[in-house]
Structures are given as structure tokens and as C-alpha cells.
Amino acid sequence: MKHPLGVTVAALVPLTLASLMTGAASIDVFAAPSDPWAMLVLMESRLPRTLAVLLTGAALGVAGMLLQALVRNRFVGPDTVGTGESAALGLLAITLLAPAAPIWLKILTAAAAAMAGTALFVAVIRRLPPREVMLVPITGIVLAGVIGSIVTYIAWQTDLIQLITTWLMTGEFSGVIAGRYEVLWIAGAAAGLAWFAADRFAILGLGEEVATGLGLGTKGIMRLGLAVVSLVTAMVVTTVGMIPFIGLVVPNIISRIMGDNLRQSLPMVAAAGAALLMACDLIGRLVRYPFEIPVGTIMGFVGAGIFLILLYRKPAHG
């Protein structure tokens, strides 16, 4: 592929159109300007959902790429290191302690908890032997399990299991309507902001020694990266639930094609993440039409397959 970004964006256009045209209500999207009912469906349901999918896919892809640069390991994603579980824990805590807290405070709490959880993961893996590449993702999965079990236990004790089920189980977009997805713009903005520091993330990806040698303050850039990853994951988990594998698989594929010069590759990661999630969401909506299969389920199957191929195609180096 000579212009991977061009090809991906070209694929995004028909996918987006298809998404706008797919739904339980049979309306003619192109007649929307003259048909008030069609316009209502479009603006209240179809467009928000399509935007939500695009923002989520793009932001999770970018978050995954940043996380992989921060921990210098290809086999982790925001969904496998406990970030989402920590966000759920934070949100659960504020829901219990201050149910009347304004929404922005809840969002902030979830993001802060996500950041603490991810920082804990980073602190743990720093104590692992540096050569054991595969122990890093395993640590993440176990840590996610431990935090998840705390969340489950608290939720059980407080009869909030219904609430956390929507966060921790497979994500889906069927509930997205205007007014219930807008925080995803924060995720998108955070991912966009990361592009301005792309060089710094790429240098950090070379290792702390090289970064120090080049005069980069590694702590600051580490914190910035953790903040972006946590913000993105917290927003996604609390609006649409966990979306597995996007943040894991997309950065791997793009890194294969374009390498880790993040200033060039981050836009591509965002576009590819959006395209893959959009495609999976469309499959989920069409395969059992008019019923829906959650995109998380489709992604779990498709993503796991892609991941296994990547795992066995690329031998020694991580």
C-alpha cells in the first residue's frame, strides 16, 4: 500500500454512510432534508451512533498506541491492563459516596481512578525482568482481574451489579442517542491532543535511557501518556462499555506497516481504529437484523483471531 492513510479514509466513507443508513426504523436518509421524521431519526439516533463509533474506535486505537510506547511492549492494550476496571471502580465509588455529584465530577473521578490503576500497572511491570516480554500482558490481565473482582464484590454488596455490568461486560452502541454519547468527544479530543506530543512518545518508546540522553523529561511525558490513555478508556467504558482488542490489534497492524514514528502513524492508527470498529459494529447490526449483536462480542471474536495471527507471525522481537 502506497498511501495507507488514503486507503483507510476511503474505506471509512462508505462504512460511515452504511452506518447512517442502517437501523430498525426504515427511513430514507437522503430524503432527510424534506422529511421531518427521517431528519429526527438521523439527528437523534443514526448520527450520534455513527459519531460515537468513529470517536471510540479512533480514540482507543490512539490510546493503545501510546500505552504500547509507554510500557515498550506490543502485547498490551487499554482493555487488558486494568484501566477500564479502575475507571469502573472510581465511578462506583463516587456513585456510592456522593450520588448527587455533578456529571463532570463523576467523569473526573473515573478518569483519575483509571489513571491510578494504569500507573499501578506500570509500577508493577517495572519490577519484572526486562527480557520477559510476555509477562507484561499477563500481569495486566491478572491485575485487571483483581481490580474487576473488587468492583464486582462492592457492586454485589450494594445491589449495583446491574450498573457495573454495563461497564465491564461487552461494549455496545445500541443505546447511543443524542445526549448520551457526548463525553466521547472528550476521548476524541484527548487522543487528538496526543498527536502534538507524538515525537516525545516516540522517543520514550526507544527507552528511558535514550530519552534521557536526548534531554527528554521522561516522568512528565509518562504522566501525559497515562492521562490520555486513562481519559480515553474511562470515557469509553462509562458510555458504551469495554470494547476489547481495538487498542491492542490496531496499533500492532499499523506499526507493522508504518513503523513507530508516531507523528506519521497516529493519524493512521485513529483512522484504522475507527474503520475496524465501524465495520464490526455494522456486522453486529446486520447479521441478525433487526436484532443487534454487541460490537464487543464481534470484536472479541475478530480481534482475538487477528491477535493470534500477529502473535505467531512475528517471532522473536516484541
Binding site: 499477563i138 491478572v142 483483581v146 474487576g148 461487552t170 476489547p244
Partner: protein
């Protein structure tokens, strides 16, 4: 020097191990008695006793199956941190069950006699597991990390595939599968229980008979081959035993996973068994693991169910404690 020291302590160590196994057995007997007779009222004695006995039986069978399957699996992989559950064994079982519902329809699935279904599942599960994990582990695991990761990912894939299949059939049937794929010790069927217990006992018997060869298998493929063990065949036999035990446990009470992440019960058991037995010999390790697991499950279930009044919390607590234990092992550098 070290050799003589080892030799000198061999006798007392042997006696110590016997004492340890004895102590664990006594503890288990006491716990079981308490389980059966604690707070037994005047009326309906026979009924309550039978109910409790069935549940106790389920707990014991599951404990034994999980303990032995984990020990055997770690032996095949020559690694102390793998459990069948981490490697996606019970997800495979859920997928298998969903596939059967999808293939036969709910009515067809329900029409099959309980026993036939149970046995068919066992056979299928053993075949699939040997095929899948035999290829994964058979050639020796040079890159153990990648093997674990593969298992974890396969687990997610199986679960997603099961979810996908379940959604493709109608929501109605989805509920049937859902019910079949959450863990509950009260679900144990009094008809299947004796069969499950018999199969588990038989599998453990075979494992004990194979114990000397398992000791060699645990040294890893290269060493085992150079010591003259028929490694490939031993791997297949051991994996078949693991699959049998996992299937029995899962068929009786449902998969021992909560919320999509692997349960670490087996890991804790294996870690404790190694710590307490301080031996590499399977004829000590296997009984120790079984007794430890049975004690934890019976006592734990009793505490949570009767003292704290929380039926379901045990699995979450096990996951929490098991996960922390795993992280501890990881940071101690015991996982390679």
C-alpha cells in the same frame, strides 16, 4: 555435601509429609461433618441432610477435579503458573455447550437424556482439548509467555464465539445457555454426581499410577526425552485426564470463571500444595492438592454461606486472592 544433607533429612521429611496429609484429612473430615450436621433442626432432617450431602459431594468432586487438573496441567507445561482455566479450558466447554444448543435447537437439546448429554460432552471436550492444547504444548514450550498469552486469548475468543452463537439463536435460547454457564454448587444433579465422582476418582487413580512418569514429565520436554520418557504420548494422556476432570467439574457446577477473567483457584491450590508438600513427587503433591482444595472450598463455602450469608461471593474472593497470589509469584521471579 548437599547430597548427604538431603539424604539425612529424607526420613523425617517422609514422616512429616504423612503427618501433613493426615492432618489435612482430619481437618476435612471435621469440616464435612460440620457442613452436614451444623444447625440441623428437628423437622425434615432427612431431606435437609440429603440436600447438604449432594452439595458437599459437588464441592468435594470439584475441589479434587480442579486440584488434580491444575497440577497435571502444570506438569505438562513444566510451568508453575498455568492453570487449565487460564488457558481457556472452561471457555471451550461453554462454547461446546452453546454450539450444541445452536446445532440441536433448545427443544432438541432439552430432549437428550441428561446422562447421554453429559457423556457426549465429556468425549467431545477430551478430543478437542487434546487436539488444541496438544499442539500448543506438545513440542515443549520454549516461549512460555507466548503460550500463556495464546491460551488467554483463545479463552476470550471461545467466550466471544459462544456469545456470538448464543445471540444468533434467539434471546430465549440465550437464556438457557446463560444459565448453563454460570457457576453454582446448588445446580449439581444428584443423578450425575455419583458418575462425576466415579470418573474423577478413576482419573485421579490413573494419575497416581502414572505418578513416577509425571515426575519426569515435569522436568520439561528435553530432559524428559533424554531420560527416555515417551514424551508425546505422555502429553496426550495427561491432557486427556485434564480435559476429563475439567469437563466433569464444569458439567457439575458450571465454569469456574467470573466476569470473563480466568479464575485463579487452581493456581492458589497448586502454589499451596508445592509450599506445604515441599516435594516434586506427584504421589505426595496430588493428594496434598486435593485435600487443600477440598478444605478451602468446604470451609470457604460454609463461612460465606452460613456465617456471612453470601452465596456467590466466594468465587469473587477466590479470584481476588488468587490474582494477588499470582502477582506475588510474578514479582518474586517465580514465574518463568
Amino acid at each position: 555435601m548437599a547430597d548427604t544433607a538431603l539424604h539425612l533429612t529424607a526420613m523425617p521429611a517422609g514422616r512429616r509429609k504423612t503427618r501433613m496429609l493426615l492432618a489435612l484429612s482430619v481437618l476435612l473430615a471435621a469440616a464435612s461433618a460440620l457442613w452436614l450436621f451444623q444447625g440441623l433442626g428437628e423437622g425434615n432432617r432427612a431431606f435437609i441432610l440429603q440436600l447438604r450431602a449432594v452439595k458437599l459431594g459437588a464441592l468435594l468432586v470439584v475441589a479434587a477435579a480442579v486440584a488434580v487438573s491444575t497440577m497435571l496441567f502444570q506438569t505438562v507445561a513444566a510451568n508453575r503458573v498455568l492453570t487449565p482455566s487460564i488457558m481457556g479450558f472452561d471457555s471451550l466447554y461453554v462454547l461446546l455447550q452453546t454450539a450444541m444448543v445452536a446445532g440441536l435447537g433448545v427443544a432438541g437439546f432439552a430432549a437428550i437424556p441428561q446422562l447421554t448429554k453429559f457423556l457426549a460432552e465429556l468425549v467431545l471436550m477430551c478430543g478437542l482439548a487434546v487436539l488444541l492444547f496438544g499442539t500448543l504444548l506438545g513440542r515443549g514450550t520454549r516461549d512460555i509467555g507466548r503460550t500463556i498469552l495464546t491460551g488467554v486469548i483463545l479463552g476470550i475468543m471461545f467466550r466471544s464465539a459462544a456469545g456470538l452463537l448464543a445471540r444468533l439463536i434467539d434471546p430465549n435460547e440465550y437464556a438457557v445457555v446463560q444459565a448453563a454457564s454460570t457457576v453454582s454448587f446448588t445446580r449439581a444433579d444428584p443423578v450425575l454426581l455419583p458418575i462425576g465422582a466415579g470418573l474423577t476418582a478413576a482419573a485421579i487413580g490413573v494419575a497416581l499410577w502414572l505418578a513416577p512418569r509425571l515426575d519426569v514429565l515435569a522436568l520439561g520436554r528435553d530432559t524428559a526425552v533424554s531420560l527416555g520418557l515417551r514424551h508425546g504420548r505422555m502429553v496426550v494422556v495427561t491432557l486427556a485426564l485434564v480435559a476429563l476432570l475439567v469437563s466433569v467439574a464444569t458439567a457439575l457446577v458450571g465454569p469456574l470463571s467470573v466476569f470473563g477473567s480466568p479464575a485463579f483457584f487452581g493456581l492458589v491450590i497448586a502454589g499451596l500444595a508445592h509450599a506445604l508438600a515441599r516435594s516434586h513427587r506427584h504421589d505426595v503433591l496430588l493428594p496434598a492438592a486435593v485435600l487443600i482444595a477440598a478444605n478451602i472450598l468446604v470451609i470457604g463455602q460454609m463461612v460465606f454461606e452460613r456465617l456471612l450469608g453470601q452465596q456467590a461471593a466466594l468465587s469473587v474472593v477466590i479470584e481476588f486472592a488468587g490474582g494477588l497470589f499470582f502477582l506475588y509469584l510474578l514479582l518474586k521471579g517465580r514465574i518463568r
